[in-house]
């Protein structure tokens, strides 16, 4: 009797193991996978530099030639404001022209074009929460391009999204004034060289033909 019971139990276990074993193995694997931390990508010291090079090429292909040269030479881009009465959340500019200085990973600075009076700082970021490399920060040139696209594409929305501060909160106003002065000098030099090129260009000579009109 006992022998028959043991035999039956063994047979039952053997049959059930076919069903249960794969499930148990699967569950064990899942448990291990859950506990395992995904391997961190190996640190590559050249990765950020390569990313920045790619980003610079993209920026260059999108912005105006003048803006690209400005970024290359001065490290920032000036974008003209398009709102009639100045950027949102200011006292208004009375219709005066204004612009923004766009720096990588720094607040956008609004200023009056004529007097260079600083209006506001707008701090805005473009965080990639997927953090593909443990960082949410875009390369410098991508950050500038994102701001340029958002400003030229929908200035009002970007400014409404940003955290606004009075000038001097994050960026030294003296530094901004120096940058505006550098920009003025840079533009003058550019105009001069454009003028020199025009005067250096020989006048167009009409080909001499045997049969005058």
């Amino acid at each position: 009797m006992l022998f028959a019971l043991i035999t039956t139990a063994l047979v039952a276990i053997a049959l059930l193991s076919d069903l249960l074993l794969p499930r148990l193995t699967q569950q064990w694997e899942r448990h291990r996978a859950r506990r395992e931390r995904p391997p961190a990508p190996a640190y590559d010291p050249g990765r950020e530099r390569r990313a920045e090079q790619t980003a610079r090429a993209l920026l260059r292909s999108c912005v105006n030639q003048e803006e690209w040269s400005m970024y290359r030479d001065l490290g920032f881009i000036r974008v003209w404001g398009s709102q009639r009465d100045g950027p949102e959340r200011t006292d208004g500019t009375g219709g005066a022209a204004y612009g923004y200085l766009v720096y990588p990973h720094k607040p956008i600075i609004a200023y009056l074009a004529q007097t260079h009076r600083l209006l506001n700082e707008y701090f805005v970021t473009f965080p990639d929460e997927t953090r593909p490399y443990g960082s949410a920060r875009l390369p410098d040139s991508d950050d500038v391009l994102a701001k340029w696209m958002a400003l030229t594409g929908d200035e009002r929305r970007l400014i409404a999204t940003a955290n606004m501060h009075l000038p001097g909160r994050q960026v030294d106003p003296a530094q901004v004034k120096r940058d505006l002065w550098r920009l003025t000098q840079w533009e003058r030099a550019r105009l001069r060289s454009a003028g020199d090129e025009q005067t250096a260009t020989p006048p167009t000579v009409r080909p001499v033909t045997d049969h005058p009109e």
């Binding site: 990765r47 950020e48 390569r50 990313a51 920045e52 090079q53 790619t54 980003a55 090429a57 993209l58 292909s61 999108c62 912005v63 105006n64 607040p107 701090f123 805005v124 970021t125 473009f126 965080p127 990639d128 929460e129 997927t130 953090r131 593909p132 490399y133 960082s135 949410a136 920060r137 875009l138 390369p139 040139s141 991508d142 391009l145 994102a146 340029w148 696209m149 958002a150 030229t152 594409g153 929908d154 929305r157 970007l158 999204t161 940003a162 955290n163 994050q170």
Partner: protein, 78 residues
């Protein structure tokens, strides 16, 4: 645009081909669903370049050669 990467090509295709267009629409929606913003660099008639923000696939000019996705803007350090 991606941290540590710069530009990454997500999808390529010709909008005049139906299969390509469907694939591009799918990729476009996927990016917007993950919270990205989309912009198309355009050249105005006066020759000035600027960006056009797009929220639907139909907003993209048919002759656009690319759409750039970038993370949604957020207010920065307080």
């Amino acid at each position: 645009m991606k941290p540590g990467h710069g530009e990454v090509v997500i999808a390529e295709g010709d909008v005049e081909l139906r299969d390509d267009e469907l694939r591009l629409i799918e990729a476009f929606r996927e990016q917007l669903d993950t919270g990205m913003w989309a912009a198309v660099p355009v050249t105005e008639p006066a020759g000035r370049r600027q960006a056009r923000m797009v929220q639907t696939f139909d907003d993209i000019p048919r002759d656009a050669d690319r759409v750039i996705f970038f993370p949604r803007a957020a207010g920065g350090a307080r």
